[in-house]
Symmetry: D2
Subunit: 328 residues, 4 copies
């Protein structure tokens, strides 16, 4: 019979995302419920290597469900990529009698977890936390829904001034490799064009479309651009290109930037975090490892982390089509 | 071969919900894309019976995607329940060469649509628009996500004052027959107790739980109550009951009320509305009828309206359990 | 020469208000700047009597400027109204070498401060913190601006659903003795009628006005009512009265309630809190007492607390007139 | 005896600001109240020269009080700087029997108004509408309060991610010639440094301060920079400079940009707009001209436009000091 785990650690790793605190709270509360000790690791693998730990009880996570950021802080760790770094990490876990670990983060953080598990057979469960939604094995990552609302609210404000002045705005949203934020925030904000990494729309087609838009009487326009757009031009170059080719347009640029990572999480992200946190603890208690928890058809599921890392999360073609129809 | 439809009507019916305008916009834009005329019907079946119509073009729906309420207004119609009422309605549709209709609303509105279709073979597609999320055949109804955010933001504010004064608040949220808002907003707001129509927690268990909560050092608490809670007491009676039985608590009541129906829709609701609007037009153009469009596993699907009406949308047992664990 | 004060205490008392945390932070930071120790007193006079103190350093108030509520909690104290209670309070201050006190609160809290000062010659400075804005000697109390925004945003949402359904809403806002919130939020939300304690509009005039409003084609209306309205009817009775006398109206009631006390403070309240906090510490260091700091013509001023308590803060007649003109 | 004015025009000019719609609404409603016709001029002086007018009734301004931007659109006009342009403008006013004009805008727009009045003796009243608050003769310009809230909410979000990653953020806010937004939003957001055009802090002092901040254990910092900061470096150069000189800092830049111009106005801006709109109409009806309405000590006042243009609106020294104390 399997020995029950007695102490679990939780960390946040990689780029922070709204809902990470709600997930920490859920892991801690689930531990309390199952009478398991819980330890927080500061600054992801960095703090793991340094043994920067803190004991967490149900009370330590009071009133954090609605806070952006992460009380455990986050970091990217070079040292954890080395064998020596991981050895130190393992030592600290052993020293502290920690028998399982929940890693809240993205692809990079999960890769580290898999290697660590291979080397030390240390039980690890991943919770997908990133605003980019670019992780296979879940329809939604933590923070994605909140980031969409933040982006859409900002673009709504920009639209106010765009239409008052008959201007064309290029608005850059986050998403280096994935266009989820751009596509969804673009459709949600009623953008006239959306440029994403997954699709090279072609600059000519954009010019055509903007020309047509003006002809049909539209006096202001919003073009939403993902950071990692395929045009080979950044958002300022894009704006300049349009200005040169469509002098009738008064063009402006707005880069939404890091505010998209912060803010109080949406109800969706808080509930998702609560569900995933409980599931991750239950999986560890069931003797499972190397799994990522996620959402599918509104049900909590788990996927092998290895699969989650390999699998791509491709753009929804139907939504692309909807976006074309909406912007016609 | 089927004759292509040339004119489609759209209405909003029943209680209004954020995202209805985004859905109207999507229906209108999809009509424009497929070169079909589009007519708006004011005040649901009421306006249909009176022939209160307006032609809608892509430009008429500019800048409404982010507006709460419905530009077509909504109403409940007694007259449409009568054969005479429906006859008048049909006359107006025929007179105006309307060949298909998109009804954005809830259960009641769909029931009307089914009867009307039976009597006149008039093609009808339903879009589930209600904050209550109590419709079978879709994981999310339009407006539900926004209402959750509204409720959670309000409860966050109430928590500020509750914890400043060590008070116990009973917060009533909408949901006459369904506890979706209460359960999700309760988990999202970190409520200490959640009372929903689907489950009779029992007043004694609540008292026990509140007592325990106080013993463990919690000085303030939030109990989220659905309108239609099964305890047989309304929220004021509940508060009084607790005050009498737990005199150590300083109890307050807050009824969130109709503000939950309004407000700018969340990105989720805007995107959902855009997707469902396009799909509903495409179904009509494909010669389909009596279907409700919806979301399942993040894909747009369609269900027979009859089935949607009959089928219940039951509370997620796993989430109930998460809620128990979170409030322990 | 006056001996410089070495230790200052700060408390929040009475009803909580957004901006109280920002004021605490400012007092603490100003103490750090002037190299004076700072002690926080929990739960107002209640905690003072019990000696429930905490040392506060610049770091203890990191990241609270944007939090609603008060980290020091607040309460109303019966015991402080007794000589014995105040004696205990004084003992605790002496024991802890506290030589001056900043009280953040409303009228009631200031009255206590004045009596205490008379009895013990203990230096006290007041910061007006209440959402009601009913304090003489300042154009704005802490929390008032935030409460207005909260009320107006809620009424905006209610207007969405009111106009979708052609309904008449009675919205009750806070303000037991003062109509500041009702008048300003009413004008800000574009209400059709505003009922405040300072003015008995008369129910007949309201009926007349609502009738006229309907005649001129307005299909939905918002009536904003202060808690302490003079009509002698509460908001539910008002609604019933109108329903009986104007059956053409579909009437609903919404009581905004305690959410008006919470939420992240507006920029205005945060800046005001920062300014008043610094001033209150500087006054104590200057050997002043029995003063309330406040804002006048956008400058920080001070008034005798006694005067602040006696003086009324009357409704702006010009704004009343503007409100009449706007709702015509 | 003076002949009563029968028709008034209203325009918005220059950069748009939240509250402009509320001011338009107020002008229109005040005209209705005093039974004067009201005409809206599109796109400021540009539309005046082209005669691009629209009749406005109380109903045309329903439901705009809470909308950002301006329904009359705004523009900067080169042609109005020419005698010919102004002649055309005057012709259109005469043709349409317009006898007075309310100009909602900033310094530039008022200069145009004064010249026009000199040439044609045409009655003009100005309403200060700009987010920059850089106009003499009013403590608050329309839109300023809303822009502060927008900036502070965005910086709150950035702080979440800054503290999760121990980063230093340079956040640029609007204000080319005036540091009002930077100073107030900086204090409101609890920024560690604030750089404004009115004061050359000196880069060395900033470095010193950041070094000290790190020494005292602060792990993340926000520096708020006004567009027009005096350091001679733009925000990106500033960031690079700090990165080179303080390599221990992980530096990021965020330019808030045009979203600061949009969004639903705060209650303060809506009420201010309502008051100023009424006053401007009443001044025209009283035969006044060349005045700007404004707020002083929470009272509505009027100033000669000429004076308003000449007078500077200097930074509050006391607030500067508060900002120093808060960031120590």
């Amino acid at each position: 019979m399997m020995k029950k785990i007695k102490k679990i650690a939780v960390m946040t790793s990689g780029g922070d995302a709204p809902g990470m605190n709600a997930a920490i709270r859920s892991v801690v509360r689930a531990c309390a419920y199952y009478r398991v000790s819980c330890v927080g690791i500061y600054r992801g693998y960095e703090g793991l290597i340094e043994g920067d730990f803190i004991e967490l009880t149900a009370r330590s996570v009071n009133n954090i469900i609605n806070k952006g950021g992460t009380i455990l802080k986050s970091a990217r760790s070079q040292e954890f990529r080395t064998k020596e770094g991981r050895a130190k990490a393992y030592e600290h876990l052993k020293e502290n009698d920690i028998e399982g670990m929940v890693v809240i983060g993205g692809d990079g953080s999960f890769t580290g977890a898999v290697i660590f598990n291979e080397e030390y057979k240390f039980p690890v469960i991943g919770i997908p936390g990133t605003i980019d939604n670019d992780i296979f094995g879940t329809t939604h990552t933590l923070g994605y829904d909140t980031a969409l609302n933040t982006a859409v609210e900002a673009i709504d404000k920009i639209r106010d001034t765009a239409s008052s002045h008959n201007r064309l705005f290029f608005v850059e949203v986050m998403g280096r490799d994935a266009g989820f934020i751009a596509l969804n925030a673009g459709v949600g904000a009623g953008a006239e064009e959306i440029l994403i990494p997954e699709e090279d729309l072609g600059l000519d087609r954009m010019l055509e479309s903007l020309k047509k838009s003006r002809r049909t009487g539209k006096s202001s326009s919003i073009v939403v651009v993902a950071e990692g757009d395929k045009s080979g031009k950044n958002v300022y170059e894009l704006a300049k290109y349009v200005e040169e080719n469509l002098p009738e347009y008064d063009v402006r640029v707005s880069v939404l930037g890091h505010m998209q990572r912060g803010g109080s999480p949406s109800c969706f992200d808080r509930v998702l975090a609560s569900r995933l946190g409980v599931k991750s603890v239950e999986l560890l208690l069931d003797g499972k490892t190397n799994l990522m928890v996620g959402l599918k058809n509104n049900e909590v599921i788990s996927t092998s982390i290895a699969e989650a890392i390999k699998g791509g999360h491709s753009i929804n073609q139907e939504l692309l089509r909807v976006s074309d129809i909406m912007t016609t």
